[in-house]
């Protein structure tokens, strides 16, 4: 079990000059934990964070773009996995925080909460590399490898 705010704190320790897109509750936590001019929290409508991040990544190929998405959000824009895989920007990193809910709407459970293999969906869509973490140590280690 990983807490999202702890994940963000770990990310902050390794952050360099990445543009970071976060949605809803993750955006609030990000603003609190790691205020930064390169934080992007304007995603307009639920599910759209991954698509905003794609536009930014395509427009700024010189910068890494990291999106902190939610499982409820991604389910509202699942096709974006295929769109992103097709556009294939090398500077795009898609992080999904899975809590089994549409958190912003009162933590209503998502369909098949806890039974969806999001990492497999990403693989099947064509993401070239996928990782799955269930403890902070592994997350922190992988951030170190990629920073």
């Amino acid at each position: 079990m990983m807490q999202r705010d702890e994940c963000l704190k770990a990310f902050k320790r390794h952050r360099k000059d990445e543009i970071v897109v976060a949605v809803y509750m993750a955006a609030q936590e990000m603003t609190h934990i790691m205020p930064n001019d390169l934080n992007y929290t304007f995603t307009g409508a639920m599910g759209q964070g991954s698509s905003h991040a794609l536009g930014i990544a395509l427009g700024r190929p010189d910068k890494r773009v990291v999106v902190f998405d939610g499982d409820g959000s991604l389910l509202m824009n699942l096709g974006s996995l295929v769109t992103i895989a097709n556009a294939a920007p090398k500077n795009y990193i898609h992080c999904l925080c899975e809590n089994g809910t549409y958190e912003t709407n009162g933590s209503v459970p998502i369909p098949r909460a806890g039974q969806i293999r999001f990492v497999d969906l990403a693989k099947a869509a064509g993401y070239p590399k996928t990782y799955e973490f269930s403890n902070l140590w592994d997350w922190d280690y992988e951030l170190e490898q990629h920073s």
Binding site: G44, Q48, S51, G55, I56, L58, G59, S80, T83
Partner: protein, 115 residues
């Protein structure tokens, strides 16, 4: 799609495209969202959040598939076509009907309001 003057980003669903345009704008680029009117109807919430409330310029070229030639969209017998302009009006989104070459030229002027 093979025109080297354009970079085409294919999307699976139209509301994604609105958001990709928004991201490109944040990154300093101009973009054009091309879709049919059905896609616009499916993107109303993205447009509401991004283009209207967020005041983020999103330029769209929207096809009116099935519109009768020479008939104003609001007079179309096709329900989906008929409701497009009233919906844009209700959202406060500036729009131009482009059918003849002359209107095409006029519509290429920049709009002062987000669309």
């Amino acid at each position: 799609m093979r025109d080297p003057d354009f970079k085409v980003v294919q999307v699976c669903k139209e509301d994604e495209g609105i958001s990709v345009c928004s991201g490109l704008f944040a990154a300093g680029h101009r973009s054009l969202m091309m879709m049919q009117y059905t896609g616009l109807l499916d993107s109303v919430n993205s447009l509401r959040g991004v283009a209207v409330e967020g005041e983020n310029p999103v330029c769209m070229l929207v096809g009116l598939l099935g519109k009768e030639p020479g008939v104003a969209p609001t007079q179309s017998k096709k329900y989906g076509v008929k409701i497009i302009e009233p919906i844009l009006d209700a959202m406060g989104i500036a729009h131009h009907w482009v059918e003849e070459p002359e209107t095409r030229r006029r519509s290429c002027r920049p709009s002062k309001r987000p669309m």
